[in-house]
Amino acid sequence: MVKYFFNEMDIKSTWDHVTSAFWQRYPNPFSTHVLTEDVVFREVTPDNRLHTRRLLTKTNRLPWWAERFFPGNLSRSVYILEDSIVDPLNKSLITFTWNLNHTKLMTVQERCVFQESEERPHCTQLKREAWISSGVYGFSRPIQEFGLARFKSNQAKAMKGLEYALANIHGDAPHWHLRDSVKDASEKAKEAAMAATEKAKNLASAATPQKPKQYV
């Protein structure tokens, strides 16, 4: 059984802005788990699409009960490939991201489509899907559950990071909202509560301007 995740949201920035910010989203205050970032392949195809492969290194935080599946001599970093296709004519950016190592423990594959909104050209629609699986005999279920929970929290951070980049590069006011989701109501309520907490934190940090901003 593979865990599946899907959500859809509107980003209130033009597709050009979002796509430019996509390349410049690291580092940001929400991406402390991303250690390195490299372009390892790039070409413009004859039909004018930009193909890019990026290699990212991320930390691999595990719950204590999963440590036993991790031989101590293995590298703890996770290598991630992020392939993408930018189509400037159709205003779409498709990304596919997956981990290269530790794949027996867990594989996370994510597909994102950033598309100019048909109804509102100043907005960008983002559809995000992910597939999470584990090959650890007898423990694949809890590992996948953990992987899904971590993915959810990381994708929320990814949105904040993208917003951060949008605000930095284009001065776009940070704003996005979840349009549709397969999540159940209780999870939505939890997320709303988390968002409220985050908002309160932001307000609190905004109220202490003497603190220097770490990433600016």
């Binding site: 991303v34 390195t36 372009v39 790039r42 290194t57 930018v86 596919f96």
Partner: protein, 77 residues
């Protein structure tokens, strides 16, 4: 502004120079349909020489992985 590091410790400067060149080209030329050559080609070559060497040294298994790799079916759909 803090910048990202390259996976190759010695490649970070080359990466940052290239990224800067690319970001300008992407926003000002590519997205606007301007196909008058890519000013970043030489920087990209130098950066790639460095980073590909680091990938080999660190044994990162990127060789032979198809573009959009495990996604083949999903992209078509």
């Amino acid at each position: 502004m803090v910048k990202m590091n390259s996976v190759g410790e010695g490649c970070t400067e080359l990466k940052r120079e290239y990224d800067q060149c690319f970001n300008r080209w992407f926003a000002e030329k590519f997205l606007k349909g301007d196909r008058d050559g890519d000013p970043c080609t030489e920087m990209f070559k130098q950066y790639q020489t460095c980073v590909q060497k680091a990938i080999k040294e660190k044994d990162i298994p990127v060789d032979g992985v198809e573009f959009m790799g495990p996604n083949k079916v999903k992209t078509d759909g």
